[in-house]
């Protein structure tokens, strides 16, 4: 009898001990890692684990997760245990029998709670599975038209099932929590473009929504793969003159732009959809193994079998499709564009510094060339880079608020590196070019003060030399890599319009500036 009691006590003790253990100490491990990293070489990039944790913290919101029956029971058990300990403490000494009885009763109650919870959990699980099957059927019906089942479609179906599940969860709760339904009704009653970005930002603030989970997953994967590259000191050699990270095997500019146009090949999307986290782990190990062994981008990317721009384009497409599936009312061409802009605005900022660091490693030679030209021409005047004299003031006395011509455009362009969102960077370039046109108009007015105002507007023949001057005066080599990255990541819809034109002109001007230091060959006098 006594032995049996002792055994029970042991079990209760071990049980109590277990329930006291905090659930794993990942935080401390992460800190240690970060500190040891910093000790050897200071990297401005957080280790992926820390990045992931920050992601979760950043997106934590008010929607509290409900406890599972087991969690509820263990919470109850902790309370029981606390009571038990309080009563033990109050027992007068020498009451061994009472103590044993209390311990046994505690153990019995705790076991009972757990058994009941387990049964409830199982029942709930069964119900959830039934519901999931039902929702899966609903998702299947939704996709019935699409016929065949590629891996991609399978994944999309699965994600859509998650969305249905999420919505049903919120349907059963208090009215104020049922936000998807409310937004859908809002959009139906009052379809308005201004509602779209509100809806998407609301969606992105719900950290438990499948779209947000997918967003975090993709961001983490990209960061996880960039980290070993950008946190190391090695720089990469670009493959010949290729501007593109999409296909490193091209040998000339024109080939690289043609091949980059097929960035959404089926094989790549398959890679994206079937990839598992274990693969990520294995990949991480491979990356660590060869961290210092690559020295040129070509070999490197071939080994990598993964290019950031392909991955990111597919990831964003997937996020967009899931958002449109969740809110069918957004599926019109204008709303879709707004939606995409909002998703990109959420997707890029945490990743941009790592992405641009990768591009800087690839384009360091171009940046050096740019820097060399800046050293030679830092105080050049517009005329020195081929701007016609009618488009800048003859003597600096004519400048009212600036110390050199086109200074306001230079100031605007300097803001580009500060933003983390490609779309906003693109807007900054557009503002720079517009500012150039405004200045050019003013200067022309000054130069032709007496003659009748001419209607001739400036075209590319004038714009490019001025833009080159502005880029030169900006003195920021990073622009080269920023623009190369923008070209990869800006959604193609923007590339045909004014934004695309401005980005293209900027790249053309940067390339010209890079060539300036090499001497007479490209000097305007010889053109």
């Amino acid at each position: 009898m006594l032995r049996l009691a002792e055994q029970c006590l042991e079990r209760a003790k071990s049980f109590i001990g277990k329930s006291l253990d905090p659930p794993g100490p990942p935080m401390t491990a992460g800190h240690r890692r970060m500190l040891s990293d910093g000790g050897e070489e200071r990297s401005p990039f957080l280790p992926p684990e820390v990045f992931q944790r920050l992601q979760v913290i950043a997106s934590q919101d008010t929607s509290r997760k409900e406890l599972t029956p087991i969690e509820e029971a263990s919470r109850l058990n902790q309370k029981l245990k606390a009571n038990y300990e309080a009563r033990l403490a109050r027992l007068p000494p020498g009451q061994a029998y009472q103590k044993t009885s209390l311990t046994l009763s505690l153990q019995r109650q705790m076991m009972e709670n757990l058994i009941i919870a387990k049964a409830r959990q199982d029942a709930l699980q069964r119900k959830m599975e039934e519901r999931r099957l039902r929702l899966q059927e609903e998702a299947n019906r939704r996709f019935a038209a699409s016929g065949g089942m590629t891996a991609e479609e399978q994944e999309q179906r699965l994600l859509y099932t998650n969305v249905l599940e999420y919505e049903q969860d919120h349907d059963h709760k208090a009215q104020q929590l049922d936000w998807p339904k409310q937004w859908k009704a809002n959009m139906k009653n009052n379809p308005d473009a201004s509602l779209v970005s509100d809806l998407v930002s609301h969606l992105l603030s719900r950290s438990d929504h499948p779209v947000v989970k997918l967003l975090r997953k993709h961001q983490y994967r990209v960061y996880n793969r960039l980290y070993p590259i950008v946190s190391g000191g090695a720089s990469l050699r670009p493959s010949h003159s290729s501007n593109s990270l999409t296909r490193p095997d091209t040998s000339a500019d024109h080939q690289s732009f043609i091949s980059s146009s097929s960035s959404l090949s089926p094989s790549h999307s398959r890679e994206l959809t079937t990839e598992e986290d274990e693969e990520d782990e294995a990949h991480k190990q491979r990356m660590v193994d060869r961290e210092n062994s690559f020295e040129d981008l070509e070999t490197f990317l071939t080994q990598l079998d993964w290019t950031p721009s392909d991955y990111i384009h597919i990831a964003i497409d997937q996020l967009l499709s899931l958002t449109l599936l969740s809110f069918e009312c957004l599926n019109t061409s204008t709303y879709k564009d707004l939606c995409l802009a909002s998703l990109e605005e959420a997707f890029f900022p945490p990743l941009w510094s790592a992405l641009v660091a990768l591009f800087r490693k690839v384009h360091w030679e171009r940046e050096e060339a740019f820097q060399a030209s800046v050293r030679l021409y830092h105080d050049a005047l517009p005329g020195d880079v081929g701007v016609p004299s009618k488009l800048f003031p003859g003597d600096s006395g004519m400048l009212q608020h600036a110390s050199f011509p086109y200074e306001s455009a230079v100031q605007e362009l300097k803001l580009l590196v500060q933003d983390g969102c490609p779309q906003r960077k693109l807007e900054c370039i557009v503002r720079t070019l517009r500012q150039i046109c405004i200045c050019a108009e003013d200067y022309r007015g000054l130069n032709e003060a007496d003659s009748a105002p001419k209607t001739a507007a400036i075209g590319a023949d004038d714009l490019l030399p001025i833009l080159s001057f502005v880029a030169l005066r900006c003195q920021c080599p990073q622009l080269v890599s920023e623009c190369a990255a923008l070209e990869e990541f800006i959604h193609e819809g923007y590339l045909i319009g004014e934004e695309g034109y401005c980005l293209t002109s900027m790249q053309s001007a940067l390339a010209y500036v890079e060539s300036l230091h090499t001497g007479v060959a490209h000097h305007p006098a010889n053109a």
Binding site: D253, L433, C437, I458, E492, E498
Partner: protein, 217 residues
Amino acid sequence: MAAAAGGSRTYSFKVVLLGEGCVGKTSLVLRYCENKFNDKHITTLQASFLTKKLNITGKRVNLAIWDTAGQERFHALGPIYYRDSNGAVLVYDITDQDSFQKVKNWVKELRKMLGNDICLCIVGNKIDLDKDRNVSVEEAESYAESVGAKHFHTSAKLNKGIEELFLDLCKRMMETAQADERLKGNGSSQSASSRRGVQIVDDEPQATPSGGCCSSG
């Protein structure tokens, strides 16, 4: 929902403007995008980048016209300007044989890069200066034919021939786009996001019906 209604499409075309410094391509394109009823015809980027909305045989067309720098020193990056272009307008000055040679070089480059996907238009500008002509009509027209391009004579100064050249170009770009569409099997690939040529956009139901034709943007 959205796609079901209407069924009319809007074509978006990118057209690059190529030509040496003084051939008058800026005046040409400014003439074209000028709106007689509105003085605000010039976009914020002036003549470098212009847009125009058209209505051709009941189809809406949005043109984006990309001016390029004629100077040799900016040619290295030429390909990034004309990638994904649906059309190119190559302008020379009929009094300047050299500018016609430049057009030939660009044609060669465009065909090499973009094959037959791009509709070419070769334009002899400044016909108001016909007495100083240095490029013969026969030479220009037979060359254009040999490379599968259309040839037009224009005068930006007298506003001659410009509407015609762009209208013809638009019609050919629409034909090319429709042929592409038929090839792709039409419809099902609504979300196919190829990086090349953003061409066809489904109209939205709530879009305001476009009044009249040839309103410039």
